[in-house]
């Protein structure tokens, strides 16, 4: 919470990048306390590591200080408060933390837990579900990562290549 306020208040974008990395690490700790070790692992590696590096790379391309906002902050603040209140209102209906009769634990979860030891034989049920029972989904995710990579490459390096080709055409014209 303190961290998030610091991210909003700080003008130096370098500090903001670092603080958001720290925020990711904190939320990774939160996931560990919720016993979601795989998610915590991903959050620490992606949020704390790669995102921070990419933010720093972006900073190197742009400026390092935030410009002062020109519009009034009240409308965004209002939207955020209403959304937050709606989300908190939604959590009132949620079952207690760790409640075995919660709908999440009644649906397919017990089925996977009962079947995976003798069907898959892999001790980590998360891996068994991700790679085998939900193989289609994971393939879709891989394809999304693939598409994202292609997109960034086209956006960031296509421009430079075209400029170079223009340059070479001009060179040739000059030669001719």
């Amino acid at each position: 919470m303190v961290n998030a306020i610091a991210v909003v208040r700080t003008r130096s974008l370098f500090a903001v990048a670092m603080l958001s990395g720290a925020f990711s690490l904190l939320s990774a700790l939160l996931f560990v306390t919720l016993d979601a070790v795989d998610v915590a692992f991903t959050e620490a590696a992606v949020g704390g590591g790669i995102s921070t590096v990419l933010l720093l790379g972006t900073l190197a391309l742009t400026t390092r200080f935030e410009r002062h906002a020109e519009h009034s902050p009240f409308l965004p603040l209002f939207v955020v408060i209403v959304t937050g209140a709606a989300i908190i209102y939604g959590t009132l209906d949620m079952p207690n933390f760790g409640d075995p009769s919660a709908p999440v634990h009644q649906h397919v979860g017990p089925d996977y837990l009962a079947r995976s030891p003798h069907e898959i034989g892999v001790p980590n049920v998360v891996t068994a579900i991700l790679a085998s029972y939900r193989g289609y989904d994971t393939m879709g995710e891989t394809a999304v990562v693939f598409a994202a990579g292609i997109g960034v490459m086209v956006l960031l390096s296509g421009l430079r290549r075209r400029r170079r080709r223009d340059g070479s055409i001009e060179d040739r014209e000059e030669d001719g």
């Binding site: 991903t42 990419l54 069907e119 034989g121 892999v122 693939f146 960031l156």
Partner: protein
Amino acid sequence: MRHHLILRVITKLLVGMIMLFALYVQFHGDYSPGGGFQAGVIMAVAFILYGLVFSVGQVQQVFPPWLVHKLVALGVLIYAGTGVYSMLTGYAFLDYGALSPDHPEHGQHWGILLVEAGVGITVTAVMVSIHYAFVGRTPMISDEEW
């Protein structure tokens, strides 16, 4: 870039360990937290760290951009190829029992291993190529500016 002696020495020590840890996360994902996505990111971090501390040119000698771009597609191909193989041998798409018909459980192990390898390769290559794309456009910043 002849300064930052401590950073350079520590980085050289760390890069190998980070890669080993990535391989551990990759191939031990069946038994402990982790898997292709996490391992891919950790492996990419090793290259990115090397590139940050030394230079992009040096890391691109080790891991050239053309190879990275091929690996981006190779991972998805491995994943989809596993599915197509199981289809060709008469099983459902991505039914890993096809990889070892006599012993479906072993087939599942092989399938998960292959698929996770595909995920890991794609994630590593995408992360590294995004980093290359960012760094490739950046003018070198002098240390005084920071």
